[in-house]
Amino acid sequence: MLSLEDVRRIAHLARIRVSPEEAARYQAQLNGILGLIEQMQAVDTSGVEPMAHAQEVYQRLREDAVTEPDRRDAFQAVAPQVEAGLYLVPKVIE
């Protein structure tokens, strides 16, 4: 069972701000979901290979060549804040 402190820690790891009221609500809901998930623990899976993907595919290799056109302006047009071709974020180094 997740404690309120666990919920706050997970929310911080996920970079989601939660108010104290929200944390209490998430605690109940997340514990409900974890209760559902708990059924898995009864299954003996010794010797079973984990299945990461629906198909047994392997990463394709391609020639190391430039294939994408330069679309910086179009992609930066949808950014919240840019200047001189750079993305702006709050100052991180004093």
Partner: protein, 483 residues
Amino acid sequence: MNQTIKELSDLLARGEASSAELCQDYLARIERLNPRLNAFITVDPDKTLEEARAADARRARGEAGPLTGVPVAHKDIFCAEGWPATCGSRMLADFVSPYDAHVISRFKAAGMPSLGKTNMDEFAMGSSNETSFFGAVRNPWDERAVPGGSSGGSAAAVAARMAPAATGTDTGGSIRQPAALTGITGLKPTYGVVSRYGMIAFASSLDQAGPMAPSAEDCALLMNVMAGFDARDSTSLERPAEDYARDLDRPLKGLRIGLPREFFGAGLAADVGQAVEAALAVYRRLGAETVEVGLPNSGLSVPVYYVLAPAEASSNLSRYDGVRYGYRAAAYADLTDMYERTRAEGFGAEVKRRIMIGTYVLSHGYYDAYYLQAQKIRRLIAQDFAEAFKACDVILGPTAPTTAFDLGAKTADPVQMYLSDIYTIAVNLAGLPGMSLPCGFGADHRPVGLQIVGDWFGEARMLNVAHQYQLATDWHRRMPEGL
């Protein structure tokens, strides 16, 4: 307005209608019905008609393909250049895509105009379309009911004939469950058959796009447009092109239908069970035989899914950081605060729940017990299907345990909502193709869906099985009254 894709394409080929005329008719219907149903997030008549006129010009030049000029609506999870792609979220409410998804470029190459972008559960997380930032969608058969989700807008648009067809995506049932709840036909292909490039990611090892339309024949024709290898999706499969309509007319005599006993037990509503049994009687009359099969691990598919899908989602959705695109909070103290406020304000409650579950199951000390265990059971579930397909050609059963539920009925308890995908999720985990087609109505006069699960790459056979049923019945021709 009750015309199939095939009929519309014949109309255009005979010159009895232009694409511009067809689009105007559908746009008028959208304008009239959307205030009631909320199936579309974005409609842009100028863009639609421009694409329609280009399709007409192409036909005049003698360069029309089989579906040139037939309009479709697109789930708002697909990026289309110059159109908003909100994914049902405040996070992307103002995002206008600078590029085309592979699926969109295929429809453009086929000359099929877009009627707009359809409503959906936020980031495709939901089974009722109630998690959308743009509001719930109403079921055209009964406006008190949900249309299902996450492709609820596409399903309602097709059911109300606001579009002759629409695209959807299916991670745990998001094409099949809304198709069932709105009385239309929807197909989720084998994982890897349709490119995920430009389709906003939820759970990448499960996400797959597919068509939603009134009939199986429509879905076959749309699969011919959507499927195909794309080097930009690392899980796209390099397979020879196929004609998904090639087996439609094959007789069903000798078809072996597998009935998983786990899909007909407790939890299945009596009226849904009766409609499915009646469909099985039709199949027996058509010469098919039924055999009981077992999917002993399928009962674990919901728990497994709610580890794997949130884990993948927590990773995929880490890209929404308020820096490169999408929403950014208006006020913040520093970089971490900017991330935390942006994501708190930009995401809705269900998306946050899933990101937090995913973060937890992937965190130090819990990975083996949750994520790895889920991946191992995923293999057991896939092996069950492989075993079952030794005894049958297709698997049949209900798509959803009940007909459409009322708006608000399951919003308070996430776990109850999750259980509405109990028959669809195992198919995604195994990577198999699945369909839903209408097979009657429940006690509340809301539609019931019949699910067909095909063997890996068995789309053409599955479509054949669906089409033969639709030749013998008319459920797929029914339309909601009063629209």
